[in-house]
């Protein structure tokens, strides 16, 4: 089997050149405007998936895709990316019908390369985990187009939630929230890689590492941050018994939750009076949010070690940093639960993503004793959003959750070498 250097750039790369501005008029009628595209991508999809079979045979025998077929299927993938971006409000302009014109959320696909026969032969079987993740993220209309269910099969999960919430936000402000746009772009990128893998455009497996976008998305500072300081090894025995192992924690957290509800009520009243949450209450609730995150990380195999029961900061490799209490505006405190509804809608989507990631990691760890880093990081990013949503609802912060699926800030641009500066390179 051909080995792939995981550090080399993925042959299918998502590229973003979007200014977040949205036309309220086209946003209002977005679905209706997209109707011709939905009809067209269904027809386009039938042709593409039929030709994908020819492509499969070609790769199986020749180990390389014919350039013409590759070009056709790449155009289809690109078109699907553009349409998905348009539908999910990750981009604003009306897309073309051929996938040949540049678009604010676009995809670069490398020319045909040599592929392994074994990987090609069992491509559809191998792609099952990627399909599962992709359908949870809902990042590709293409995957639903083959059977005419573009909306039902392709845009669901994360992109559907983002599109739903982004629709209101864009209508109100004329701008798409950056975090939501980045979340949709991430999902679309993964969907594009899955489509390309399934259509034999590449034999490189889709990479679920959050933030694999050009240019790298921002990671704004937030009072609730997650840190990942864990290796990828997982002892199989502890993986096999993951569920029964967390039962004592679940009972404990259920009891703790009852006290947290009372504490949150007290914090709400005191924050309305004092304009801030008293430190003792803040510490008590922060420990709970941290303990839930530690346990969720362990349960979903995102974290390796068995977590403690008290949510102590720095006690777990997938850890949550929660800033000290800060002054909060009273009107925001008064209607906090109402304001948190959209965040919880998105958090519930991230919860589903975490569960799906957990199931896949469970199988992967049971078979190989390791977890894929990209999927682990996606789980960690999903946990972070859920923690931010809970922290916001429990008045631990007044900062709204940030849905950008980025774990680490982008590395700084390398300094130009002296030879480049002097023009001698």
């Amino acid at each position: 089997m051909r080995r792939v250097n995981p550090r080399s750039p993925h042959p299918v790369r998502i590229v973003v050149d979007d200014d977040l501005r949205r036309s309220r008029l086209t946003v209002l009628f977005r679905l209706i405007l997209a109707l011709p595209h939905l009809v067209w991508i269904t027809l386009f999809g039938i042709a593409a998936f039929t030709l994908a079979f020819v492509m499969w045979l070609a790769v199986l025998f020749e180990r390389r895709a014919p350039a013409s077929l590759h070009g056709f299927l790449a155009s289809f993938t690109r078109y699907a990316v553009q349409l998905t971006a348009y539908l999910s409000l990750a981009a604003d302009p009306y897309p073309g019908f051929t996938g040949s014109r540049p678009y604010p959320v676009d995809v670069e696909i490398d020319p045909p390369a040599v592929q392994g026969r074994w990987g090609a032969g069992f491509r559809l079987v191998l792609a099952v985990p990627a399909f599962v993740v992709s359908s949870t993220l809902g990042g590709s209309v293409a995957l639903g187009s083959g059977y005419g269910g573009a909306l039902a099969g392709g845009v669901g999960g994360l992109t559907a939630t983002v599109a739903f919430l982004g629709w209101f936000a864009s209508l109100a402000r004329g701008r798409m929230p950056r975090g939501m746009r980045d979340a949709a772009v991430y999902a679309i990128g993964y969907g594009a890689q899955t489509t390309a893998y399934a259509l034999m455009l590449t034999d490189r497996y889709p990479d679920s590492t959050p933030g694999m976008v050009q240019p790298p998305p921002e990671l704004p500072t937030h009072p609730i941050a997650i840190g990942v300081d864990d290796d990828l090894r997982r002892p199989r025995l502890l993986v096999l018994f993951r569920f029964p192992l967390v039962v004592p924690h679940l009972l404990w957290l259920t009891l703790w939750w009852v006290l947290v509800v009372l504490a949150a009520l007290a914090a709400w009243i005191l924050a309305l009076v004092l304009g801030r949450v008293p430190r003792a209450l803040h510490r008590f609730m922060a420990a709970f949010v941290r303990a839930v995150t530690h346990l969720s990380a362990f349960f979903c195999v995102v974290g390796r070690q068995f977590p403690g029961f008290v949510g102590r900061e720095g006690s777990y490799p997938i850890d949550l940093t929660i800033a000290l209490p800060a002054p909060q505006r009273r009107p925001g405190v008064a209607v906090r639960l109402l304001l948190a509804v959209p965040a919880f809608l998105l958090a519930s989507t991230f919860f589903v993503i975490t569960l799906v990631v957990g199931i896949l990691l469970w199988f992967a760890a049971l078979v190989t004793g390791r977890v894929p880093g990209g999927l682990r990081d996606l789980g960690a990013a999903s946990l972070r959003y859920q923690a931010q949503a809970w922290a916001y609802a429990l008045l631990l912060t007044s900062r709204y959750p940030d849905s950008s699926p980025v774990l680490q800030p982008a590395p700084p641009e390398p300094e130009p070498a002296l030879l480049e500066l002097t023009g001698l390179a």
Binding site: P235, F241, V247, P248, Q305, F306, F309, S315
Partner: protein
Amino acid sequence: MKALRLAVYAALVAGWIGLAWLLWGSVVPDGLVLPHVDVDRVFGAELVARTERYERFLLILWALGIVVSLATLALYARYGGRFAEESAAGPLGTGMLLGMVGLAIVWLTQLPFTVVGLWWSRRHDVSHVGYLDAVFGDWLSLGATFVSVCVALLVVMGLARRLGSWWWIPGAAVFTAIAAVGVFVSPYLYTGLERPDDPGLVARYQRLERVEGLHGVPLRVERVSENTSQANAFAFGLGPSRRVVLWDTLLDGRFSDRQVDVVLAHELGHHSREHIAKAIGWFGLFALPGALLLMLVTRRLGGMGNPRAVPLALLVAAAWTLVTTPAQNVISRRVEAEADWRALEATRDPQAARGLFREFAVTSLGDPSPPTWAYVLLDTHPTLAQRVAMADAWAARRSR
């Protein structure tokens, strides 16, 4: 200090003996001689041979399972400490993890025996449980077992970290208190119990209740006939939570009303003689030396406050349970014999009792006269032959 230690030990031994003497009392007449029962004549030679075949296989399976689980725990005691690296939960949490992992490994090693035992029971039409149901349900129920072991380790390790080598005295007391609370609340947590829909059964039950000197102990029926053809009943709870539960397999027509009455009277006998409270007392009496043994054995690993002692503690606990099982079975059989006697006194129907015990051999394929080693190690009830003999003895005394 040594004198104090000796005085404490002496007081505990004296208290232990005194309480054991109090709990040992029974209404079965002293010196009751059970007549010999010809099992082939009473149960039928063919049935006896069949039950022996059925139970022999299960006994061998049990013995193998015990050997494997002890060997597994011995290996875990040697190497299990390395799982401490997989914990970020501090000493108490790490101890809990090590306890749960140990049980999980034992569960895995027992899985083949569970499956083979189920195959054997299904082959003899005693069980109807599916393999997946058994394995997966067992896996899920591990969670409840893990909670119990976590609570136990929390008590032991918490006390050991505070009290050092004296933890075992309050530890045994706390365990006994937890057991009492568990026994009290278990009827409220037990799901799937229904009120009996046969007014005749309820009327007979209430009459027996009065005869036994009880009032207001609810009768419930548990539906198990989808999973097994075995017949069973049990009494549980304390004070206001007391219950008597009949499996619906007792009410499917295979047993006569008179035979069911014997069962009801037997279970009510447990309540009227306070057997459940006494069982808690016995639990405490066995927990005390067990905790002492744990303390002594784990001392060289830093005591029970050290999570790395937990794997060894599991081995000691398993060995202690196995070693004390014969003694516990003697007590259990004595208690069950007393309940049988109470049932005979309440129903005054030894014929029904004889028929009931014979039918138990048919429905559960229980060997009426098992090998001595199996009787000593496994039988919590008198053998069916002994129970028939007790019915005969009761009839003989009455006819005198």
